[in-house]
């Protein structure tokens, strides 16, 4: 299997706090990798380093064998890495069609062609009334537009930061299907950062567990789920939450 993403000993700290510590992971072609871990584990920070929103203190990020460490976000997107945001960043005053077409512009020059590609993605995601403003949508639609915008850039690697947060169980089932379909139809690799266990365990080929910035476990979903270290962390977190 070809390696699409290779992160090597990435470290990133904020002041005295080490958010990501000597963290390495790989993603193969067509693979869906789940990235889980308790709140504050460093998952989002890691995604920000991969996509160029943060520069790592040390370590390197390779995409398709090429060193992309420290490139600005738009250049990393041009290389073929797309993402969604944990706190969604919608183009509120734009229509669904315009927002997704804006994503297509990184691959095509003409607006007509961008609209055509956006229309395809809108149909694929089954978004209705694409003339609506992005600021007027429900949670599911907002997440789908966020996803569609990223897909429109024709990525080889798509990083999703808690795409299922705030969804109802039935919607999570839908999202699971959508993600698998995306992998198959668009032929890309996915990194799924998620707290929603049914989704991440159901969709991932492999799961990486992060805690306090470090990798503490890795393997097939069922292996990870029965790993004592992982259980301890999650139980500890639940106890912590119950107390707080």
């Amino acid at each position: 299997m070809k390696t699409v993403l290779r992160a090597q000993s990435v470290t990133k700290s904020f002041g005295g706090l080490v958010a990501v510590r000597n963290f390495s992971m790989e993603v193969g072609e067509g693979e869906i990798v789940g990235l889980i871990g308790p709140n504050g584990a460093g998952k989002t920070t890691f995604l920000n380093v991969v996509t160029g929103f943060l520069k790592p203190d040390s370590g390197r990020v390779f995409f398709m064998g090429e060193d992309i460490t420290g490139l600005p976000p738009h250049k990393i997107c041009i290389k073929g890495v797309a993402r969604t945001f944990q706190l969604i960043k919608p183009f509120s005053k734009m229509t669904i069609l315009d927002a997704i077409a804006a994503g297509a512009l990184v691959r095509v020059r003409s607006k007509v062609e961008a609209y055509r590609r956006a229309q395809e993605i809108i149909e694929f995601l089954r978004l209705r009334n694409p003339e609506r403003l992005c600021g007027s949508l429900n949670v599911v639609e907002e997440k789908l537009v966020e996803l569609g915008r990223a897909l429109a850039t024709k990525p080889k690697l798509l990083l999703l930061d808690e795409i299922a947060a705030g969804l109802r169980p039935s919607e999570i089932e839908e999202m699971k299907k959508t993600l698998k379909l995306i992998r198959d139809e668009f032929g890309l690799s996915l990194v799924v950062v998620e707290h929603v266990m049914p989704l991440v365990m159901g969709v991932s080929d492999r799961v990486v567990v992060m805690s306090s910035g470090s990798k503490i476990a890795e393997g097939r979903p069922e292996e990870v789920a029965s790993n004592p270290k992982v259980i301890t962390i999650y139980l500890g977190e639940r106890r912590g939450r119950a107390r707080g």
Binding site: T51, H74, C77, A82, F85, K111, N129, R149
Partner: protein, 313 residues
Amino acid sequence: MFRQPLSPKGFLTLLAIVALLSLPFIIRHEYWIYVLTIGFYYAILASTWNVMAGYLGRVSFAHAAFAAIGAYASALSVLHLKVHPVLGMAIGTVAGAVFSFFIGYLSLRLRGVYFTLSTLAFAEIFRIIVTVEYEYTRGSLGLETEHLIVTMSYIPYYYVALALLLGTVFSTYLILNSAFGLKIMAVGNSEEAAEAIGIDSAKVKVVTFLYVSALTSLAGAFYGHFIGLVSPEVGAFDQLALIIAMTVVGGMGTLPGPVIGALLLEFFSEYLREFGIFRLLIFAGLIIVTVRFFRRGLYGTLKERLISVGGSP
């Protein structure tokens, strides 16, 4: 059923253009022709400021200053290089482009407020230099300059200003509806999301600021050769405030809004002249009332109502 059919909109636009073209034949009063010409000047400034604030989401406080840059660059080149005012206006435009490129390049890469603060600082520095360099600029007395057209009537100026305004609105329309326009709006909505989908946000911001400032300088240069005098007043803060008020009253983030707001406020401010000292008070009251009852400006609110009446899903 969301998209407005293009024909009524196009029809209204055409109607407005025809009306503006024929106005000098209807209004036989030179004074109101003069007022409308000044109104067109402000309409250009409000339209271009609106591209920054209403679409790119960046507030420039140097907008009036760029009009002054154009005016001074043109007046000085007409005076010293002995060029025709038309060439002077071209030089003024280039001067605006050059200055805006440097300001934009230095400050637009930083986050929002730094840009606004930089434009504020720049506008103030420019004003001070112009006022102090008396030898070249005649300071606050103002620099006399050649008129663009030798004529006894304001009508030729009216048509030149109208042509500049239509050119500005039309080119802005084309840009906003192009692929680049999508990028402008993307950056205006969320710079980070725009970067994440491969948009070079710094480039989009610098290019947009350059376009906007060059047009503003062109308008300023025209204004100088219309009045025949260029003073620091052109770039003063109250001018900026007026431009902002016009945009907000008409409807920020819409194409016709700033034009409507500019013509309306210019008209009122002239009409209210006879109220002397109460003029500013009434003027401010009008603005507050408009903004209170038309939250998105006159045109913006009207458009919103029409859309909701027209029936969305």
